[in-house]
Amino acid sequence: MKQLRFGYVTAPVLGVLWTFVIALTVAIAMSFATGSAFRPSGLGALIWGAGLGLACLPGPVWKPVAAGIIVTIAALFGFGPIAIGNGVSGFSSLMGAAGTAGFAAFGLWIMLDEVAFGPINRHVFEAAIIKFLTGFGYIFFTAIVLIPFYVMVLTSLKNQAELIQNPLDFSVDLSKGWDLLRSYDELFTQFNFGTYLVNSFIISVLTVFITLLFAVPGAYAVARLRFRGRAAFSRSILLIYMVPMIVLALPIYIAFSMLGLRNSLGGIIMIYPVTTIPVALYMLQGYFRGLPAEIEEAGLMDGLSRLKVIWKITLPLSLPAMASVSLYVFMIAWNEFLLAFMLLDDPSKFTLTRGIASLNSSEIPRQHLMAGSVIATVPIMVLFLGLERFMTKGLTAGSVKG
């Protein structure tokens, strides 16, 4: 490591790595946006990255700017860190070349902020490495998270022929207007997705209510009241949380087949809350323990009964926890697939996830499948982004205390 700790070594090495990362990112982004041929060039990144790294060492600002412009021009002529295929439009080429050079130079300028040309100390060296890793991390995670969703949304707007012709071309032809949303329209008019949406919503909301109805008293008992077997009980909740669904699904399937409860939303509503009660109970009891017991004791002294204490003191105090538990339970119920898949066969009673599963056949075009996925994903995303704060807090504070 010691040999690396010279500005004239660190800068080119980081330069090469970073330039390649940026070239790859820009190539993928431009390919996905335009469908044209962009690819990173290893050799280009090696040569130009080293140069950029040296140019971006602290010094006058014109150096990195000039280096960036030179790399852009080199890329446009086909010798840069990004290779642009023939027949790519001038604007896209310029975007790709300038984007690569610009982001590479800008990132390096920040990374090498304190790195001197000569020997550098360990602190400065590691700070530069960490800045590189941070930049790489942001790009990496954003890319891996966004790409599948990007593909999902844009596939739903295209048609089968376009998809097979160029799988990379996700450009959306806005001149089509409302026709872009044809898959969605067909799902709602021909495939009954309106009903599925309503079914899923009703089931999820009912699951939330029933779960809370069971879990709140239970969680309070485990958190506050002293009784023999409390520790054992609190453990067995966790244990039940760990029983795999497929193990339960088999006997439930058999029992429902015999009782004639298959194919009924009532049967689903009987099962879903029980799968979420242990989680909810565990999360809530964690929160209840954190509430000061003194307030409740004061309530008891003033003549309230235990149940009144729960209703008038504990519940209002734990509204944030209730919100996060509700959100989490709603998410589980909304996303649940296995039980819906096994227990529902009648297309008029499907939930959204079961409805999507039924779209997975070779006779139904892919864009319908993706449109269905978008329909199922958007509501939970909206709800979640709106209440993200609760979710984050509830998940971490309640379920596993760090």
């Binding site: 760990m242 242990p278 996830t353």
Partner: protein
């Protein structure tokens, strides 16, 4: 003042409190017992029964009734025909009887010896039937005017059938064939190996990714909230939606990933990501990491934010480099949450079914134990074998939770 000693046992207040506690817990216990404990017991029962999917319906007598013969006027002869069969091909039904009402205006003039007529009520006793047994019973009748007038045909009144069939689920036939099937041959070991690979690498990968992501977001900057929300997307969206998005993305014929790889010159021809060994297993493990790193990320981030920043300032003053600070300060602080997460995620990944089922259906060397339950029970239609696999899973789970509780009791004081 001689007997001053602390009270023994529990006092009335403590008893009251305990009673209230059990009262509050009772609904939960009842519901969980019904939907979790009972099915678990059922799994053990079924695993030693020779049950297949078709046995779920108990054998019953299928009956069809109609009237045969040309009859137009009073005095014509006709016959009431009962076609009966045992719905099961191999299960016997014992003590089969039918009871029916002969419609007004049909005079029975010849009766099968097994039947008896009391007024209009017909009762026939067929004794025991073997599996696959069929029988056609003809009852010749004379048509009278009343029949022609009322137009109530024999099939308009439903015949009542009785018969005792022992369902294989409740009888006393037991077998260890299911377990023999499960453990037999190389298949079990390959399934176990796939499960372990998936679980171990899925868990560790998700933890490392989560740690990395948490370190990225463990500072406040503009857009931190947005990024944090964005990084949780894989976890909160429905598994079926993201699984199909992955399948589409990595499709060998029209997938964008292949098009991209070919364009970049990484590969010459399309790769069948979810269809060939051992790539399919690696892909489903990557999917698992992708989908669950947000969960580890959330927990690790929460723990990181609760670490005192004074410590880092002190370390900075003492000249510790950033990597040293990470290794000697952050890692020891995070070790607790990391190990709890590892155990939890290990168990949950082990239990995971939907992801692999949706991505590959257990093909191309990705069949884990949980997928094997479904495969045996529904694809091969052998419910008993599926239950046997489930029992094996449950055994593993008990083993894991033993470690889990030994460990987590120290970690959390549960």
């Amino acid at each position: 003042m001689s007997d001053v000693s602390p009270p023994k046992g529990s006092g009335p207040l403590a008893r009251l409190e305990a009673r209230l506690a059990w009262g509050l817990l009772a609904p939960t216990i009842a519901a969980v017992a019904l939907v979790v404990i009972l099915p678990l017991l059922a799994i053990f029962w079924i695993s030693i029964k020779p049950v297949s999917l078709s046995d779920l319906r108990a054998p019953e007598v299928v009956i069809r009734e109609d009237i045969r013969g040309d009859y137009e006027a009073v005095g014509d002869e006709a016959a009431i025909r009962y076609r009966l069969r045992n719905s099961s091909q191999d299960q016997p039904i014992r003590g089969v009887t039918i009871t029916d009402t002969i419609p007004q205006g049909l005079a029975v003039f010849d009766l099968d010896p097994r039947c008896a007529l009391d007024g209009r009520a017909l009762f026939c006793d067929f004794g025991d039937w073997d599996g696959g047994f069929r029988e056609t019973l003809m009852i010749p009748v004379m048509v009278e005017q009343a029949y022609l007038d009322t137009n109530i045909r024999p099939q308009d009144t439903d015949a009542t059938v009785t018969g005792r069939a022992s369902s294989v689920l409740t009888n006393a036939t037991f077998t260890f064939d299911n377990f023999k099937r499960v453990f037999d041959g190389d298949e079990f070991w390959s399934v176990l190996w796939v499960t372990l690979f998936y679980t171990v690498f899925g868990t560790i990968g998700a933890l490392l990714f989560g740690l990395f992501a948490a370190m990225l977001l463990n500072k406040s900057f503009k857009g931190q909230g947005i990024l944090r929300g964005l990084y949780l997307f894989p976890y909160v969206s429905p598994v079926i939606a993201v699984a199909f998005a992955w399948i589409l993305l990595f499709d060998p014929f029209s997938g964008s990933a292949n098009a991209l790889l070919i364009q970049m010159g990484v590969t010459q021809e399309a790769i069948n990501f979810f269809g060939q060994r051992p790539l399919a297993l690696i892909m489903v493990t990557l999917f698992e990491i992708w989908r669950y790193f947000p969960l580890s990320f959330l927990f690790i981030l929460a723990r990181m934010q609760s670490i005192d920043s004074d410590m880092y300032e002190a370390a900075d003053m003492d000249g510790a480099s950033p990597f040293q600070q990470f290794w000697y300060l952050s890692v020891p602080q995070l070790l607790g949450i990391l190990s709890v997460l590892f155990l939890l995620r290990f168990i949950w990944t082990f239990n995971k079914f939907d992801d692999i089922f949706l991505l590959t259906g257990g093909n191309a060397g990705t069949r884990t134990l949980t997928v094997n339950v479904y495969e045996q029970a529904f694809a091969v239609s052998n419910i008993g074998a599926g239950a046997a696999v489930a029992v094996v899973i449950f055994g593993c789970l008990l083993l894991f939770s033993f470690f889990f509780f030994r460990f987590i009791s120290q970690e959390e004081g549960l």
